[in-house]
């Protein structure tokens, strides 16, 4: 019997796996390795393939409980809950294949949610406009919510796996999983069409596969399972980044842990240089190259899927828009490539900051005198308008001719030609003169002249300057050419700038600051039943939050204490125990830190759910610290027993809290006003109470 190299997850362990011969481990040369691999493959052909699996019932039970807690009455409430309104519109775009680009995140998350919709046969016909709106019958709520729920459910056994891979006891591992299981905030978040639970799943998967990889590093480098877990780490990391950009924090953490371990590999002088080189290349490929490729792949798939024109087209370049079905392509179909005198054109700003816009003019004139007392020419306004409009059309006129129509034969406009631009609807010439512009007084005002007698001479000649020309006689081409208009009289460059009022969403009714998260001083109301007072809140299990924060603190203090004592050559812990303790801290404690601390620097609107990835890591650290305290700080058996009893009592309290807050998590029960008031444990919590 030969082992199958790939071990899909820790719960199925191949039996009787023959150790790879020792000489491979020293991995003198790659050649030996390859030939061995080949030999192994031949072995597979020679012998019957037998798979023996032992199933960890703990694991199965945890997965079952996870599924039960996350999938129970998943379609309730059959209404748009909180940010479903936001993700839902993108799902509809996917269903209708309409192009969009979500500025706040990469596309994988939306794509996965849309996959649920696709499998459930969603046609995308639903107006996502209001939180609390009932879903119509064509919306497959169950399958839309299934993916986040599954991710949430499998995070539970995943926590178990992580703690056991950190080589802590099964009790600790069970503890971690059970804590994740009864964390109300995680349950709420994973039962809706939201992305946090998927992100958490990917984070945990990345950490788990890295741990599996580094554990197999010790005894069987370059085995199939080693490769499998290494590559899975990279893939999970790229998925995390692809779902939300905050996934990058976990990725960076794993990269730095991997870098430290690789540094030890470099320092291992029993390995040959070639072997070290192979190790480094393998890591670089799996942890750097694969994620980048995957990330690009997400966008590739996104663009392949979405080929129809839609409301988000304008943020892309004209060339891209022309490639969309029904977009600019429809307009540009058959339109001449070269611009000639008499052509009617729209002029779009290339860089498009803050948003792309078209040169525009309309009947209104500049005010005679601005608020700050400066005067203007009181001529027709020229603006940059971010929407398509008939007022965006201009005619390119040859200054030497009077007619506006295209002359025959065509006279194409070339680089360096002098042109006039006539506004299509008002037939005024684009003009500039030495009058301060309305908002940027350093620049000249651009206007369309109504009346030339008004006090200023006509200055409406513009020289065409094609920036991306190949030769100096290039013809102005539609879409492709980037042009500048240089004013002939003053050699000023036509610059049109969008000035919008700064829009900032720094405040939201339920936004919060990172400091409020640790102590759970804030909550978010997700949904309220239209008639009863049943409601869904994002509200954590207070006992777990508090003890997890406490555990983190204890970890840090103990770590510093041990570190200082080790420096003075006092080793309280045996070496392997210390390494385990450090690894657990750097992955779980570090995972908390990297997923939490950067939010202090962020200026965007923050919500409580941004804390959930950090919280998950913190919860996994909790049983680790507990086991450590029990094993190393409790001196006598009696103390240990007392401590265990305390843990059981504490866990039952956590369960009790979970149960108490359950109506707010699932929103299934309508509570009376007094019951709701009783649930308002903190003054800063918002709980809705209906006035009858």
């Amino acid at each position: 019997m030969k082992p199958l190299g790939i071990v899909p997850g820790g719960w199925v362990k191949p039996q009787g796996q023959k150790r790879v011969p020792r000489k491979v481990q020293s991995c003198r040369e790659e050649g030996i390795l390859l030939s061995l691999l080949f030999y192994k493959m031949l072995g597979i052909l020679n012998r019957p393939i037998v798979v023996t699996a032992d199933i960890n019932l703990n694991f199965v039970a945890l997965a079952g409980m996870g599924l039960l807690s996350r999938l129970w009455r998943l379609t309730y409430p059959r209404a748009v809950v909180f940010d479903e309104v936001y993700y839902g519109q993108y799902i509809s775009f996917y269903m209708k294949r309409i192009f969009f680009l979500d500025g706040s995140g990469p596309p994988l998350g939306h794509m996965l949610l849309a996959l649920g919709g696709y499998l459930g046969g969603f046609d995308g016909n639903f107006l996502w406009n209001r939180i609390g709106a009932e879903y119509s019958n064509n919306v497959p709520v169950w399958s839309l919510r299934l993916l986040p729920a599954l991710s949430g459910a499998f995070s539970v056994p995943m926590a178990y796996q992580i703690v056991s891979e950190l080589s802590f006891s099964h009790c600790a591992a069970m503890g971690a999983a059970l804590l994740i299981l009864i964390e109300n905030a995680l349950i709420t978040q994973s039962r809706l069409i939201l992305l946090e639970s998927v992100l958490i799943f990917c984070n945990l998967l990345a950490v788990l596969s890295y741990l599996k990889f580094s554990n197999s590093q010790k005894h069987s480098p370059f085995s199939l399972s080693w490769w499998f877990w290494l590559i899975l780490t990279g893939v999970a990391c790229s998925c995390a980044v692809g779902i939300k950009y905050t996934g990058v924090f976990t990725y960076l953490l794993l990269l730095s842990v991997a870098a430290v371990q690789a540094w030890h590999v470099i320092g291992d002088q029993t390995l040959s240089s070639v072997c070290v080189f192979c190790h480094l290349v393998a890591r670089a490929v799996a942890l750097l190259v694969i994620p980048v490729i995957m990330y690009l792949l997400f966008f590739y798939v996104h663009l392949i899927l979405l080929y129809r024109s839609g409301p988000h087209d304008q943020i892309m370049s004209s060339a891209f828009q022309a490639s969309l079905e029904g977009g600019l392509a429809r307009i540009t179909q058959g339109q001449p490539l070269e611009v000639a005198y008499g052509s009617q054109v729209t002029l779009r700003n290339v860089f498009g900051k803050p948003m792309p816009c078209w040169l525009h003019s309309h009947q209104n004139t500049y005010p005679m005198i601005y608020e700050n007392g400066r005067g203007s020419s009181h001529q027709q306004q020229v603006t940059c308008y971010p929407f398509k409009d008939v007022n965006n059309w201009w005619i390119v006129k040859d200054p030497g001719r009077h007619q506006l129509v295209v002359n025959n034969p065509l006279k194409p406009v070339r680089h360096g030609d002098i042109v006039q631009l006539v506004h299509g609807l008002t037939t005024r010439f684009l003009n500039t003169h030495d009058v301060a512009a309305p908002v940027s007084p350093h620049s000249q005002e651009v206007s369309c002249y109504i009346d030339y007698n008004i006090s200023m001479p006509v200055q409406n000649l513009w020289r065409l300057d094609i920036i991306n020309r190949e030769t100096d006689t290039d013809i102005w081409k539609t879409i492709l050419s980037e042009v500048r208009f240089v004013h002939v009289n003053t050699s000023a460059i036509l610059k049109w700038r969008m000035l919008t009022l700064k829009s900032d969403d720094s405040e939201h009714k339920y936004s919060s600051t990172p400091l409020e998260w640790v102590t759970l001083d804030t909550n978010i109301i997700y949904w309220l039943h239209p008639r009863t007072s049943a409601q869904i809140h994002l509200l954590g299990n207070l006992v777990i939050w508090a003890s997890a924060s406490l555990a983190t603190l204890v970890y840090v203090l103990l770590f510093c204490w041990y570190l200082l004592r080790r420096r003075r050559n006092v080793c309280d812990l045996p070496e392997d125990c210390w390494l385990r303790w450090v690894l657990a801290g750097s992955l779980c404690g570090g995972g908390w830190a990297v997923n939490y601390l950067p939010f202090f620097l962020m200026e965007k609107t923050l919500f409580l759910y941004h804390y959930l990835p950090a919280l998950t890591f913190q919860i996994i650290l909790l049983p680790v610290v507990m086991q450590h305290v029990r094993d190393h700080l409790c001196r006598s058996q009696l103390q240990r027993n007392v401590f265990s009893a305390l843990i059981v009592a504490w866990y039952s309290t956590a369960c009790h809290v979970f149960n108490t807050l359950r109506p707010l998590t699932y929103g299934d029960k309508s509570l009376s006003a007094s019951e709701l008031k009783a649930l308002r444990w903190k003054d800063s919590w918002d709980i809705l109470i209906r006035k009858h």
Binding site: G267, D504, H508, K509
Partner: protein, 785 residues
């Protein structure tokens, strides 16, 4: 350098070198050494220098001994100049000291003493002479044409805003001539400091010399030093801190000795001064902190030291690096507050309590009616620091921004337009009518606030606020106090401590709009030009309790009530300190970039992408353009890359357990330790700017640039020595180091000759036109001089 004073030197030499006078052997020995170390790269150059310095007086024999004395530095690699150490040497790292001793012992065993001593003296003299030369050059370049241009340069409006916070800044700008000299004076010291720091880190004169040359011949540093800005002062203290840190590190073998204490406390003092000048001084504090932590960590791990000793070390550092700077820093503020105890235009930035200590302010020794009554004329101040008074004026909101009604803002300065009359919501009768009894305002009352100057009521409605989304607009509405129900506000006292009445200054109140249920608040954002850049006032529907929506009553006039002296407002010093810091931080953060040509991005800086116009725009003007000498800057950039490469290779090799030859080992130690120290400085002074949201200027890079120059000096010296070592067999080896260093020096000097008009001023057409004196020097499109 200072620990190597004359007498000390002499005694050191005597103690470490027992007298073995044998004059004749010197020339012979010299040859032997030469044979032994054929690839002595430093030799020719140092010879050259020493020769130049000593030529008139030194006879040929002496010169030979001099030559001998110069050799070991190369051999010792990083411990170059180990010969020097026993003499300089009270402040030497233990290893170096040991090596020095060994060398000295070897010396003593086979060499005559007197010539050795003589050579050393020359060497020392050479070192001092080099230092003197460097200092002289730096002073010369900095003071040359200092009085031009005679007018105030660069755009001060940008500083002007900050100027009111940094009150000392204002007099910097007023007092031009003496201060200009002072700045140039401080700026000149940067170069000797850098020279000494590099020498201390690398023990190599060429490295120090290259650094000094880079700095002397950098037009950017020069320009910055010649003008009255805070940067030369800041850079002076940063370098002083760096130098004294390096010095006390090298005294580590003799802890608690006098020089050790001296340098340690000098570090602390420089740190306090650096942060006192500008908050950018924080980065050097960070660097010293990191260095101290790693040092303590080493001491802590040294099991030969008892915990008590480690504790002493810790206490010494806490005293000198934390307590001392903190005391100095607070002392400067104490002085600042004591000197500036008069009221001024900046009062409004501070809280009522703060103002009460400023004489001339109306809150100083003030007496007001204590409780608010109907008919009182009041000013209402937002509790958020630097947020100002509730204010209104005759101007309307412009079209398209909410309803076209009178603007309501917060304003930081005292003004008649800050006065409001508190009235009952339902009657318009004059409450000051003497026939009516006094009626106090109570918690929960529905009131109207009438603007005294314009007789409009404070009003809000369901229009969006001008800047903050989802908030409601606040306006002044109504004629002669008659408006509508949208003018009604409920007054609430937060944390009621004083009963139901509302106390002047002490009650924290909220105003809740009756119709919409929103709370009056200041968003802290500046309105555009139409709002005179005052701060926006909104009515926020989010009832979270933040300082933005809490107000207090500051001035209070009511003829019907007796005035009571309010002696409640005596803030303690820590409170003042904290508040002024909050105001400063807010002021700094408030400097958000606007559309201006001066703003630059941090990535522009190291590549010298764009300069800064200091003065003059037109062709005929006397123009000064702040731009680094491109040769220097691009060399720095290259050096950083090379350093990372070389450092990476060496670290990798060490980790792989490669045994380096002794010379390379020494050089790599210098590179990793000394270079690492400096690289850390560069990173700490550069990378944080990427995270800053405030407006940034090119000159923010200069502290980092100092470190970058030091890195360049260390890198090239080490690199050339390494090259020389590699080529040890060929005859090229001897020259390569000297030629390399010389070409660096001459190259920078020549580039300075090319670019010096940037700093000393240019007249004539700009560089695009061929007639310009700077024609052909506009190497990048983005430079506009």
């Amino acid at each position: 350098m200072l620990c190597a004073t004359g007498p000390l030197l002499a005694t050191g030499a005597e103690t470490t070198l027992p007298a073995q006078p044998r004059v004749r052997g010197s020339a012979l020995r010299c040859r032997r050494r030469e044979l032994h170390f054929p690839g002595d790269p430093e030799l020719p150059f140092c010879d050259f220098l020493a020769w130049r310095l000593t030529r008139p007086s030194v006879p040929p024999g002496r010169r030979a001994t001099l030559r001998r004395g110069r050799m070991p530095p190369v051999v010792g690699g990083g411990l170059a100049g180990s010969e020097l150490r026993p003499r300089r040497g009270r402040c030497v790292p233990p290893a170096a000291r040991a090596a020095g001793r060994a060398a000295a012992a070897e010396d003593a065993a086979r060499s005559p003493k007197r010539p050795a001593g003589g050579s050393r003296r020359f060497e020392v003299a050479g070192g001092w002479a080099l230092l003197a030369l460097v200092t002289l050059l730096s002073f010369a370049t900095r003071f040359y044409r200092l009085d031009q241009p005679p007018h105030i340069c660069w755009d001060e409006t940008h500083f002007g805003k900050m100027g009111s916070y940094y009150i000392n800044r204002t007099f910097f700008f007023d007092v031009h001539p003496p201060l200009g000299k002072f700045c140039a004076f401080l700026g000149s010291w940067l170069i000797p400091f850098a020279y000494l720091t590099v020498w201390e880190l690398s023990k190599s004169f060429p490295a120090a010399l290259v650094t000094a040359a880079l700095l002397i011949f950098d037009t950017g540093c020069l320009t910055l030093s010649q003008y009255i800005l805070l940067d030369p002062i800041l850079m002076f203290f940063i370098m002083a801190a760096m130098l004294s840190m390096v010095k006390y590190n090298s005294c580590a073998d003799r802890p608690f000795s006098a020089p050790w204490w001296f340098w340690l406390s000098l570090t602390g003092i420089s740190l306090a001064a650096a942060i006192g000048v500008k908050f950018v001084g924080l980065f050097i504090i960070l660097q010293v902190g990191l260095n101290t932590i790693s040092e303590l960590w080493h001491l802590f791990g040294d099991l030969s030291l008892s915990l008590v000793t480690v504790g002493k070390h810790l206490t010494a550092r806490v005293l000198c690096l934390i307590a001392l700077p903190l005391a100095l820093y607070t002392a400067t503020f104490a002085v600042h507050f004591m000197v500036l105890n008069k009221s001024g235009p900046g009062d409004g930035f501070f809280s009522s309590a703060f103002q009460a200590r400023l004489s001339g302010n109306n809150l100083h020794n003030a007496s007001f009616p204590e409780h608010l009554a109907y008919g009182s004329v009041i000013t209402v101040k937002n509790l958020r620091m630097a947020s100002g008074y509730l204010h209104s004026h005759r101007h309307l909101y412009p079209e398209g921004i909410g309803a076209r009604q009178q603007q309501v803002t917060t304003y930081l300065h005292k003004d008649y337009n800050n006065l409001w009359i508190i009235k009952k919501h339902n009657t318009n009768s004059d409450p000051l009518d003497p026939s009516l009894p006094v009626e106090f305002v109570r918690h929960g009352d529905i009131i109207r606030l009438e603007h005294k100057e314009t007789s409009r009521n404070l009003h809000s409605h369901y229009h969006e606020a001008p800047l903050t989304r989802k908030h409601y607009q606040v306006t002044g509405y109504g004629i002669n106090g008659t408006g509508d129900s949208n003018d009604f506000w409920r007054i609430e006292v937060v944390n009621r401590k004083f009963g139901n009445r509302i106390k002047v200054l002490r009650s924290r109140i909220r105003l809740i709009h009756l119709v919409t249920g929103c709370v009056l608040g200041s968003s802290g954002k500046s309105l555009p030009k139409w709002g005179w850049e005052q701060l926006e006032v909104t009515c926020t529907p989010f009832l979270k309790e933040t300082l933005n929506s809490i107000w207090n009553v500051e001035d209070h006039f009511n003829p019907k009530l007796p005035n009571i002296s309010l002696d409640v407002l005596k803030p303690s010093f820590p409170e003042i300190l904290l508040e002024s810091h909050m105001v400063m931080i807010r002021g700094n953060n408030g400097l958000k970039p606007k559309d201006s040509d001066f703003t630059s991005k941090p990535w522009h800086w190291p590549i010298n992408y764009q300069g800064l116009r200091f003065s003059g725009i037109n062709d005929t003007d006397f123009r000064v353009y702040l731009l680094g000498n491109p040769v220097v800057w691009w060399l720095n950039l290259l050096s950083i890359v090379l350093y990372l490469l070389l450092g990476g290779i060496i670290t990798f090799a060490l980790q792989r357990g490669v045994h380096l030859p002794a010379e390379v080992e020494g050089l790599s130690q210098v590179l990793l330790r000394g270079g690492g120290q400096v690289l850390l400085g560069w990173m700490l002074h550069y990378f944080p700017f990427f995270l800053m949201g405030r407006i940034l200027y090119f000159h923010h890079y200069f502290p980092a640039m100092l470190f970058s120059c030091m890195l360049t000096g260390i890198l090239w010296d080490t690199l050339l020595r390494l090259c020389a070592w590699c080529l040890a067999s060929s005859s090229l080896a001897r020259g390569i180091h000297a030629v390399g260093i010389l070409s660096l020096l001459l190259g920078t000097a020549y580039s300075f000759y090319l670019f010096h008009p940037l700093a000393y001023g240019m007249v004539g057409p700009s560089a695009q036109s061929p007639q310009s004196p700077m024609a052909g020097l506009r190497w990048l499109e983005s430079w506009d001089f």
